[in-house]
Symmetry: C2
Subunit: 141 residues, 2 copies
DNA sequence: CAATAGATTAGAACAATTCTAAAGAAGATT
DNA sequence: AATCTTCTTTAGAATTGTTCTAATCTATTG
């Protein structure tokens, strides 16, 4: 089982985790496999857990939460707040913004160089800008 | 008790609720008194409930939630999503954006005519833009 | 191989929110 | 005013997303 994750891609993923100060455990490697497989993704803890189950990966929901937060702290993921009920994690950590389909709970990336925010006032003294988030909420036409 | 809310400001507030299709009940009038008293405000259900208690207003938390949602549906309030753990309601329903102090959970208005978002791509077919939210997250300098 | 530090897990706990169903109040109809 | 109907309030239970606990397990180091 662990064997299949060694060599080639597996070892590279393991190295990536080690560099982030995280032990390359079976669960982390398998979740990383789902997360960083191909395209950029937006997913909730519950949806990743469900997907892992379907893929036959044995991992608890607590570990999914732990892993998502650890990856986020390590800069491998970023968290997106668009819905008060659920948080989303984004595999695209580059500069970009989002469309959000309220109904379906779906996020769509907008490239950071496509969109611009101008006229931001000086932040209150004692604070500085951490980041600027733009969410474009969509409804059915 | 209800007497004190009649006449002058009380009747105007009652009329406003009736126009919104809401019965001007004691709880709604008293909460409206807190919400639309003077300046624009950003508050959570819990914080409004606490404030009502301190003011000696007898109202349940369930009613605070009901009222906030009813006022929001009636267009008297708007909901702001900046923190996955808590939702905020905003008495400023005009076009504007926000600074958000992560640490303190405080929202600060940015006038809508001060800030501009350009380069928004065409939304996916079958959808249209409901609104554009900008949240500028602040950290201690 | 130990030994050790760190990771995983089931299930309990939590916080924010919503639901339920019973009692109360507002507006309409006599 | 008395009544009727509809909407509102409420306490408490329930639900949801998430975090915590503490026992077990595993990756890494010597
Ligand atoms: Mn919740
Ligand atoms: Mn929550
Ligand atoms: Zn994204
Ligand atoms: Zn505001």
């Amino acid at each position: 089982m662990a064997r299949k994750l060694r060599g080639k891609g597996g070892e590279k993923a393991a190295e990536r985790l080690r560099e982030a100060g995280l032990r390359p455990t079976r669960q982390r490697l398998e979740l990383a496999g789902l997360l960083f497989c191909d395209e950029d993704r937006h997913l909730s803890a519950e949806s990743l857990h469900a997907e892992a189950q379907e893929a036959g990966i044995k991992v608890s929901l607590a570990t999914v939460y732990n892993t998502l937060h650890q990856f986020t702290n390590a800069g491998l993921l970023r968290q997106v707040v668009v819905d008060a009920a659920r948080s989303y994690f984004d595999t695209n950590i580059g500069d970009h913004q989002h469309f959000y389909c309220e109904g379906e709970g779906r996020l769509i990336d907008i490239p950071g160089d496509a969109i611009a925010v101008s006229g931001v006032p000086t932040p209150p003294r004692g604070t500085e800008i951490d980041r600027v988030d733009v969410v474009i909420r969509l409804r059915r036409a």
